[in-house]
């Protein structure tokens, strides 16, 4: 018997705790999802995992507890799992929302690096758990089995509205980010000097990272970054076209939040860009082949 416990429903939560999830996948070992989950583990202590038939989402809502940052990360399950069986709470809402600690998931998947097989299942042990069972090769005829029981909270349907995909803000400037590794080393050094960093950019592909204290101010200039072409829904050109290309849109943000985002990147994304709403919010978008990550950092007063 591969799993020690079968899914059980408790009488108290019979309606809530109906979801069934059984995922079989050896492809989980690809670098991207593990890398992304590692990033998310660095960004948030707890987050919401939303499972639908096609996709997995890691969601962090902009609660005060998170310092106003929010995150939306999307992965297509088809790219990673060989078998995916899921039964949501109700047929018309075939989704499951779980609250979990991403670091646990990241640690559990770390052991799956050389696995023969990985199986993920929703179980009810001492509490609802996401059980990750990994079959590892061994020197003997029988495999080694590692099971990780990650405690999760099942989020009731009435709260699902809290976790809607954030819309792209009406930004002033959208610009591609510099090579993240470079950006990270710059920000890391700046972190020692100040808690806030000003991120400014214009439509000429120029971005500056600035810190300013009583004693010192440091600015790093990036040029030739390029601005992504956005097309608005009605097909017309983006309103930012009317903007003076030299004019900088800026936002002052918490440097640690920015560093958390940059430090977590282990694999260079295919596309990385940010949208700046002057003095309001910075919206980062990182795209890997099968994963997209959006991160919102509010501007400080």
């Amino acid at each position: 018997m591969f799993f020690p416990t079968e899914l059980q429903t408790t009488t108290l939560q019979a309606k809530l705790f109906c979801p069934v999830l059984e995922v079989l996948g050896s492809h989980l070992l690809k670098l991207y999802p593990i890398g992304v989950i590692n990033t998310i583990a660095k960004l948030a202590k707890t987050c919401t995992l939303r499972l639908t038939v096609d996709k997995l989402y890691f969601i962090l809502t902009d609660k005060v507890a998170n310092g106003g940052v929010s995150m939306w990360c999307e992965l297509s399950q088809g790219n990673f799992f060989d078998e995916f069986q899921m039964e949501g709470v109700a047929a018309e809402h075939n989704e499951i929302y779980l609250e979990l600690t991403p670091e646990n998931l990241s640690r559990a998947l770390k052991t799956a690096q050389n696995a023969k097989m990985v199986k993920i299942k929703l179980t009810n042990k001492h509490c609802p758990c996401l059980t990750v069972a990994v079959e590892l090769p061994s020197l003997s005829s029988s495999s080694r089995i590692v099971t990780h029981d990650i405690p999760v909270g099942v989020i009731p349907r009435r709260l699902w509205n809290d976790f809607r995909e954030p819309s792209v803000p009406d930004f002033d400037v959208s610009i591609y980010l510099p090579v993240l590794k470079t950006m990270k080393s710059v920000v890391e050094r700046m972190k020692n000097l100040s808690n806030c960093i000003v991120l400014e950019a214009n439509l000429n592909g120029e971005m500056n990272l600035k810190i300013e204290t009583d004693l010192v101010s440091v600015t790093t200039h990036f040029k030739g970054l390029g601005n992504p072409p956005w097309v608005s829904e009605d097909g017309s050109q983006n309103s930012t076209q009317d903007r003076d290309p030299e004019s900088m849109a800026e936002a002052r943000i918490d440097i640690r939040k920015l560093l958390q985002l940059l430090a977590g990147q282990q694999v260079n994304p295919t596309k990385a860009l940010c949208n700046i709403v002057s003095k309001r919010i910075v919206h980062f978008i990182l795209l890997h082949e099968e994963v997209s990550l959006q991160y919102f950092i509010p501007a400080l007063a």
Partner: protein
């Protein structure tokens, strides 16, 4: 005492010191006719390790003459100082050709001299303190269960646990299943902590002797220290254990080197073996030490924990009252015991939750195993358990 280590054995010695440093802050050095023994114990007396290097391990081994009382000289040095000599294992391997350790009781220094390539000699003069015998009492023959596995298997097993994990539970069943699981103590909320369990089949082990299903919980950090030594030595590791509360004994052996690591295991407050585990607790001569029972909450609300009762006795002469709990073979608890017990009691009464160590494991019994006359025939690390089951005695 003088001993000379050459060639690849220098690195082995270095690795041994690294492993010892994971246990305690002081290194006990004792040259005997069976070889040089290096020992360490942790502050809560819940972990003890002994590396015994046979005379053949050395190119030259001179035990040194015993002092006029017939006692072999023994001392302890600061682990930090000794470790600093062997800190960088890669450079030990590359540069050091010979290592000479000499100890002169009349001088005040333990000298470690590294003869390196290119004519470089590094001499370290470490100050030492004379000390009493450090000897944990344990007998692996009394353990019901035994596992033997290549270190590689065990390293691969513990790699799944985070480096910060304090304790791990090893479980065995007669059906041949061996499992490692992270231990959740009473302070952690089970609904918030991830539980990881690794199952190995007995095929992965070279030998499995399990009498009944049991599980023991011990400190992972100290175990990892031995594992890293074992991995580099390529020797199989033996694990002897019994019921919760009784110490787990890990051994490696080879004609030139014998390693023992004894770890106290958490006692299970719900099991009947609780009673048996009081065997290992030392009692002061006046018997005033409170009996450890499940109802006894002098430690506060942590009923798993009992203050470690440990004595490093010295070879004091007769004239001191003999403890009623020690059998005749070990009749003379030294003065150290008396003072030890009084501090113990005051510690127990004033125990503040949060004072390290948080978890107090069932004690290891350290006893004076030698009377005056037996001093010369030091039996070596494997001792018979001397304290009888003290249940029922005052």
């Amino acid at each position: 005492m003088r001993c000379l280590v050459t060639g690849g054995n220098v690195k082995v010695l270095g690795k041994a010191v690294h492993s010892l440093s994971r246990i305690g802050d002081e290194l006990y050095v004792e040259p005997t006719e069976d070889g040089l023994s290096l020992r360490a114990v942790n502050s809560s007396r819940s972990a003890y390790t002994c590396f015994l290097f046979a005379p053949l391990f050395f190119q030259l081994y001179e035990e040194g003459s015993p002092d006029p009382d017939g006692e072999t000289f023994r001392c302890k040095v600061l682990m930090k100082s000794f470790l600093s000599v062997f800190r960088s294992l890669p450079s030990l391997e590359k540069m050091v050709e010979k290592c000479l350790i000499s100890l002169n009781p009349r001088a005040s220094r333990l000298v470690v001299q590294l003869h390196c390539k290119y004519g470089v000699t590094k001499t370290h003069n470490l100050s030492f303190q004379e000390c009493e015998l450090l000897q944990a009492v344990f007998d692996k023959e009394l353990c019901a269960n035994m596992l033997r596995a290549p270190a590689r298997v065990l390293v691969d097993a513990v790699i799944h646990f985070p480096v910060t994990l304090a304790e791990v539970t090893l479980g065995v069943s007669p059906a041949g299943k061996v499992s490692f699981r992270n231990y959740l103590d009473e302070e952690t909320e089970p609904s918030r902590t991830m539980v990881t369990e690794l199952c190995l089949s007995e095929d992965e082990f070279q030998d499995v002797q399990v009498q009944q299903q049991s599980h023991v919980t011990f400190c992972l950090k100290e175990f990892r220290g031995l594992l890293s030594f074992a991995e580099s030595s390529n020797l199989p590791l033996n694990i002897h254990f019994d019921s919760p509360g009784r110490p787990a004994i890990f051994t490696l052996s080879d004609p030139l080197l014998e390693v023992h690591l004894v770890l106290a295991t958490l006692s299970d407050p719900n099991s009947s073996s609780q009673v048996r585990s009081t065997t290992l607790q030392a009692r002061p001569a006046n018997g005033a030490f409170p009996t450890a029972t499940p109802d006894d909450d002098f430690m506060g609300d942590d009923i798993d924990s009992y203050m470690i009762a440990m004595e490093t006795t010295c070879e004091e002469g007769p004239g001191l009252p003999s403890s009623p709990t020690f059998p005749q073979r070990c009749p003379h608890p030294g003065a150290a015991l008396e003072s030890e017990s009084s501090t113990m009691e005051s510690d127990l009464e004033g125990a503040v939750p949060g004072t390290p160590p948080q978890k107090k494991f069932r004690s290891l019994f350290f006893g004076s195993v030698l009377t005056q006359s037996q001093a010369g025939t030091h039996p070596g690390p494997s001792q018979d358990v001397l304290a009888e089951d003290s249940e029922g005695e005052s």
